[in-house]
């Protein structure tokens, strides 16, 4: 007998923690992980609504999000490797050549 809104709020909490984590973390990889966390929060929302609407479409959406996340991870981590090669650091605070 859990209200749907509980799930949604849980998702919101996770999403916000993801956002906060993006803001706090200095390591690019961890920042990327925060994005994954946000995506997971969204997934939870999808699943909750799928349950509410008795629609399988929501679950399929989550499935696609996973695929996309995988693809993004591949590309993202490749970019991270590339940047590590040129800058020898993973600290975002030091990746600010371009500003103003």
């Amino acid at each position: 007998m859990v209200p749907i809104s509980y799930y949604l709020i849980l998702a919101a909490v996770l999403f916000s923690v993801g956002v906060a984590s993006f803001l706090i973390k200095r390591n690019i990889i961890t920042i990327f992980m925060s994005i994954e966390l946000m995506l997971n929060a969204v997934n939870l929302t999808f699943v909750a609504f799928a349950h509410m609407w008795h629609q399988v479409q929501g679950q399929i959406f989550v499935f696609f999000v996973m695929v996309v996340a995988a693809a993004e991870a591949a590309v993202g981590l490749a970019i991270i490797i590339a940047i590590f090669r040129t800058r020898q650091t993973l600290n975002v605070d030091q990746i600010n050549l371009m500003k103003l």
């Binding site: 992980m33 695929v67 995988a70």
Partner: protein
């Protein structure tokens, strides 16, 4: 029962998420993220998405997170230094994040009544298989996205190759 389940695994997810945030070493953060995903898998299951629960464990915490850990290892990323590159992140970012949370929660709570509640287990009254249902929709009405995903993956592979390969 379902409330307990929600509270335990919801709590675990939040705690793990916070841990991700607080840990300094990327490996620890990665492992925390795995915990979050696992907990969510349980919640998926409780919402009647058995297939997703499995996929979450296999694909997400299995494949994707392994990729992360692999990269961390590859780049030999150590503990992050607490550099102070950004004041805006704290001054505007946190209020922003907090506001997002408050606003979303506000919306969910005001709409809470209309949203109804969750019953444990599958919602499909006709007892049809979750996986069967998904695959039916996936290969009929959502066939195109499924097919197009191949292009997406192709691009991702291409990108990974281009970016990660060393210049001659």
């Amino acid at each position: 029962m379902d409330l307990a389940l929600f509270l335990i695994f919801g709590g675990l997810a939040v705690a793990a998420a916070l841990n991700l945030l607080l840990q300094r070493h990327p490996i620890n953060s990665a492992l925390s993220l795995v915990v979050v995903m696992m907990s969510l898998a349980v919640l998926y299951w409780s919402l009647g998405a058995e297939f997703l629960a499995a996929a979450q464990v296999i694909v997400y915490s299995g494949a994707i997170m392994v990729l992360f850990v692999f990269t961390i290892m590859l780049l030999n990323a150590g503990e992050e230094e607490r550099t102070h590159g950004s004041r805006a992140a704290y001054i505007v970012g946190f209020p922003g994040a907090a506001a997002i949370f408050c606003l979303l929660s506000f919306v969910f709570l005001t709409e809470g009544k209309a949203l109804g509640t969750v019953s444990l287990g599958g919602y499909l009254d006709n007892a049809a298989n979750n996986i069967a249902e998904i695959s039916h929709v996936l290969f009929t009405s959502l066939l195109l996205p499924f097919e197009v995903t191949s292009v997406l993956i192709l691009v991702a592979i291409l990108g990974a190759v281009v970016l990660a390969r060393k210049e001659q």
